[in-house]
C-alpha cells in the first residue's frame, strides 16, 4: 500500500527530527546519572525499530499478494474535499472564537454545519444552533461557574 510507504518515510523523518531535538536539550547531568536525554534516545531507537518492523510488513505484504493488484474503488476519495472544508471551517471558527465570543462564534458555526449536513430544514437548524449556543453558555457561565469566552457580548 502507498499509505504504508508514506508512514515509513514519516517514521524516518520523525526519528531524525526527534534525535536532533534531543541533542538540543541542555543537560547538566548532576545528581542524575541519566539526565533528560536518555529516555528520549531510547524512544528514538524504538521508533527506528518500529520502522524496520513496518518495512518487514510491507515486504511480506507485497510477497503475499503478488498476484492481483489492489483494486481502488473509483470516487473513493470524493469525501476528502468535504472533510478538508469542515476542518477549515472549524479552524475559522476557532480563529474568531475569542474575538466574537462563544455564543456569537458557535451559533453561526453550528448553523453552517447543520445547513450542509441536515439540509433544507432551516427552522430546526436555526432553532438548535441558537438555543444550544445560548443555553450551553448560560449553563456553563451561570450554573457551573466555568468561564467561556465572552467576546463582544456584554454579559
Amino acid at each position: 500500500m502507498i499509505a504504508d510507504r508514506v508512514i515509513l518515510v514519516f517514521i524516518l523523518v520523525l526519528a531524525a527530527v526527534y534525535f536532533y531535538a534531543t541533542a538540543q536539550v541542555p543537560s547538566l547531568e548532576i545528581g542524575d546519572p541519566l539526565g533528560p536525554k536518555a529516555f528520549p534516545r531510547l524512544l528514538g531507537i524504538a521508533l527506528l525499530v518500529t520502522g524496520a518492523m513496518l518495512f518487514g510488513e510491507i515486504v511480506r505484504g507485497r510477497r503475499d499478494k503478488a498476484g492481483p493488484a489492489e483494486k481502488a474503488a473509483p470516487g473513493e476519495h470524493g469525501h476528502l474535499p468535504m472533510i478538508a472544508a469542515v476542518v477549515a471551517f472549524t479552524a475559522v471558527y476557532l480563529a474568531v472564537f475569542e474575538w466574537l465570543g462563544y455564543v456569537l462564534a458557535t451559533a453561526p458555526y453550528l448553523l453552517g454545519l447543520t445547513a450542509y449536513f441536515h439540509r433544507g430544514k432551516w427552522v430546526p437548524n436555526i432553532l438548535i444552533s441558537v438555543l444550544f449556543s445560548v443555553l450551553s453558555y448560560l449553563l456553563f457561565t451561570k450554573v457551573l461557574d466555568v468561564s467561556l469566552a465572552r467576546g463582544m457580548l456584554p454579559f
Binding site: 524512544l43 518492523m53 469525501h79 450551553s136
Partner: protein, 502 residues
C-alpha cells in the same frame, strides 16, 4: 475475608445521597453516549475532567466510572435496533441482535442484552472485590524496575492487539511516549521539545489529545458516512421486553460463560471488550448444537458477547485500581482523571484512601442495578435518542468538545491542538493506525520515564536491574510474547491447518 469490613464501609460511602446521585448521572450519561454515535466513553470521561474540576474526588470518579461501564449497556441498543454499534465492543451483538429484531424479537434481544449485562457487570464487580486486596499485596513488592516492566508489558500488549498491524500499533505507542516527553523534565527542570511555545512547558494536555482523537475524529468519520449517504434502517421495538421460557433457558449458560471470559480478558492488558465479545461469540458458536443459527438471530449470540463486554469493564478496573496501571484506552483516561485529582491509584491508595476505593467499587454494584432499570423499563425513552438526526448531532459534538476543552484552561492553543488531533485521529483511522496505544502511552509516559530513571539510579546505571527479579523477568517474557504473538500465531494456524489437511 479481610475485605469484608472494607466492603461494608464502601457501601456507607456509595449510599450517601451525593454519591448515589453522581452514580446515577454517570450511568445515565453512559447510556446516552453508548447509544449516540460520535462520542464514546473515553472522550466523555476526558470532557468531564475539566467540567468537574473543584468537585470532591469520590463523587467525580464514581461518575466517570459510571460513564465507562454504562456506555456498554447503551452500545447494545443501537447494535440491535439499527445494526450500528454505538461502541466498537458491541459489534458482535449487532450480528444476531439485529437479526432477532428483524424477526420481531427486538424486545427479547434488548431484554437479554440488559439482563446479561447486569449479571455480567455484577459478577465482574464481585471479581474486582475479591481480587483487589490480594493483588495490592503483590503490588506492594513492586519497585521502579517492576513498574517499568509492567508498563512495558501493558503497552506492548495494547500495541500488538489493538490493530491489524503490530508495527503500526508500536508506532502509535511510541508517538504517545514521545508526546509525553514534551514539557519540562521533572527531574532536571529542563524544557524539552516545546518548540519555543511557552504553554507546552506544562506538556501537551492528554485531555485535549483524547477528545481530539476520540470525539472529533469520530465526528469527521461520521460526516463522511453522511456524505456518502449510508444511513441504516431503524427497527422499532416489537414484542414484549421479556424472554420466553425457552429463550431464557438458552441464554443462561452463555451469560455465565461470557461473564467469565469478559472478566479474565478485562484484567489482562491489551485485549479489552471487543476481543472479549468476539471470544465469547466464537465460544458460543462452537458449543452450540446448531451453529448454523448464528448470524440468523441466535439468542446465545447476543447473551454471550454482551455479557463478556460488560464484565470486561469491571475486569479492566482491577489493574487500574490495584496496580495503578491501565490496560487500555478508556482505563488510561480514567487514570488521567485520578491523577488530575491528585490521586495515584495503586496499592497505596487502598491503604490511604480506602473510603474512595471501596466507595467507588461498591458504587459499581449500585450503578449496575440502576442501569438494569434504565435499560429495561425505560429503554423506550432512550431509543428516542436515535431519532436525533446525525447531521445535527455531529456539529453539536464538536461544540461540546470545544466547550469542554476551553473550560479547562481557557487556552486557544488547546483548541488548535484539539483540532490537530481530530485530523490526526481521522488520518490514523484511514491508514489503520490504532489510537488506543497512543492514549495509553501518553498517559503512562511520564510515569514510565520516572520509574526508568529511578530504577537506573538504584542500580547505579546498570540495566541489569530490569532482569533482576522474578517479577521483572516474567514481565519481560510476557512483553516479548505479546510482540511476537501476531507474527507467530498466523504461522501456527497455517501449520495446524496443513496438518488437518493431511
Amino acid at each position: 475475608m479481610e475485605s469484608l469490613p472494607h466492603i461494608i464501609n464502601g457501601f456507607s460511602i456509595a449510599l450517601q445521597p451525593i454519591n448515589l446521585w453522581y452514580t446515577f448521572v454517570g450511568v445515565f450519561l453512559g447510556t446516552i453516549i453508548g447509544i449516540l454515535p460520535g462520542i464514546g466513553p473515553s472522550a466523555t470521561i476526558a470532557l468531564l475532567i475539566p467540567i468537574t474540576f473543584g468537585m470532591d474526588a469520590t463523587p467525580a470518579l464514581i461518575m466517570m466510572a459510571g460513564v465507562f461501564y454504562g456506555a456498554k449497556y447503551g452500545g447494545s441498543t443501537t447494535s440491535i435496533l439499527i445494526r450500528t454499534p454505538g461502541e466498537a465492543s458491541s459489534v458482535m451483538t449487532s450480528i444476531d441482535g439485529y437479526e432477532m429484531a428483524r424477526k420481531g424479537r427486538a424486545g427479547a434481544a434488548l431484554a437479554v442484552a440488559a439482563i446479561g449485562s447486569f449479571i455480567a457487570g455484577t459478577i465482574g464487580v464481585i471479581g474486582l472485590t475479591v481480587f483487589a486486596l490480594p493483588l495490592t499485596a503483590m503490588a506492594l513488592k513492586f519497585g521502579p524496575a517492576e513498574y517499568f516492566m509492567l508498563m512495558l508489558f501493558a503497552m506492548t500488549a495494547v500495541a500488538s492487539l489493538s490493530g491489524k498491524s503490530p508495527a503500526k500499533g508500536m508506532l502509535s505507542t511510541i508517538l504517545g511516549l514521545m508526546l509525553a516527553t514534551i514539557g519540562i523534565d521533572l527531574q532536571s527542570g529542563q524544557p524539552r521539545y516545546t518548540m519555543g511555545i511557552p504553554e507546552f512547558q506544562d506538556g501537551v494536555g492528554f485531555i485535549v489529545v483524547i477528545v481530539g482523537l476520540f470525539a472529533l475524529a469520530e465526528v469527521f468519520r461520521g460526516m463522511e458516512g453522511l456524505f456518502q449517504g449510508t444511513a441504516p434502517e431503524q427497527i422499532r421495538i416489537s414484542g414484549k421486553l421479556w424472554l420466553t421460557r425457552e429463550e431464557w433457558r438458552r441464554a443462561v449458560a452463555p451469560i455465565w460463560r461470557g461473564s467469565l471470559i469478559g472478566f479474565v480478558i478485562g484484567v489482562l492488558p491489551g485485549a479489552g471488550g471487543t476481543i472479549a465479545s468476539i471470544m465469547s461469540y466464537t465460544t458460543e458458536k462452537r458449543l452450540s448444537k446448531n451453529p448454523d443459527e448464528f448470524g440468523k438471530g441466535a439468542i446465545e449470540g447476543v447473551a454471550g458477547p454482551e455479557s463478556a463486554n460488560n464484565s470486561d469493564t469491571a475486569g479492566a478496573m482491577v489493574p487500574l485500581l490495584t496496580l495503578g496501571i491501565p490496560g487500555g484506552g478508556a482505563t488510561a483516561v480514567m487514570l488521567g482523571a485520578f491523577i488530575m485529582y491528585g490521586i495515584q491509584p495503586g496499592p497505596l491508595l487502598f491503604q490511604n484512601r480506602p473510603d474512595l476505593v471501596w466507595g467507588l467499587i461498591d458504587s459499581m454494584y449500585i450503578g449496575n442495578v440502576m442501569l438494569l432499570i434504565l435499560n429495561l423499563p425505560l429503554i423506550g425513552l432512550f431509543v428516542r435518542l436515535l431519532y436525533i438526526p446525525s447531521g445535527i448531532l455531529y456539529p453539536l459534538i464538536v461544540a461540546i468538545s470545544v466547550i469542554g476543552i476551553y473550560a479547562g484552561n481557557g487556552s486557544m492553543l488547546d483548541l488548535y491542538v484539539l483540532l490537530f488531533f481530530g485530523v490526526v485521529g481521522y488520518v490514523f483511522d484511514k491508514v489503520d493506525i490504532p489510537v488506543a496505544p497512543l492514549v495509553l502511552s501518553l498517559v503512562l509516559g511520564g510515569m514510565m520515564e520516572q520509574s526508568f530513571r529511578q530504577a537506573m539510579t538504584i542500580s547505579g546505571g546498570s540495566t541489569a536491574i530490569f532482569v533482576g527479579s522474578g517479577i521483572t523477568v516474567t514481565l519481560l517474557v510476557m512483553s516479548v510474547i505479546s510482540i511476537a504473538l501476531p507474527f507467530v500465531l498466523p504461522r501456527l494456524k497455517a501449520l495446524a491447518r496443513s496438518e488437518d489437511a493431511n
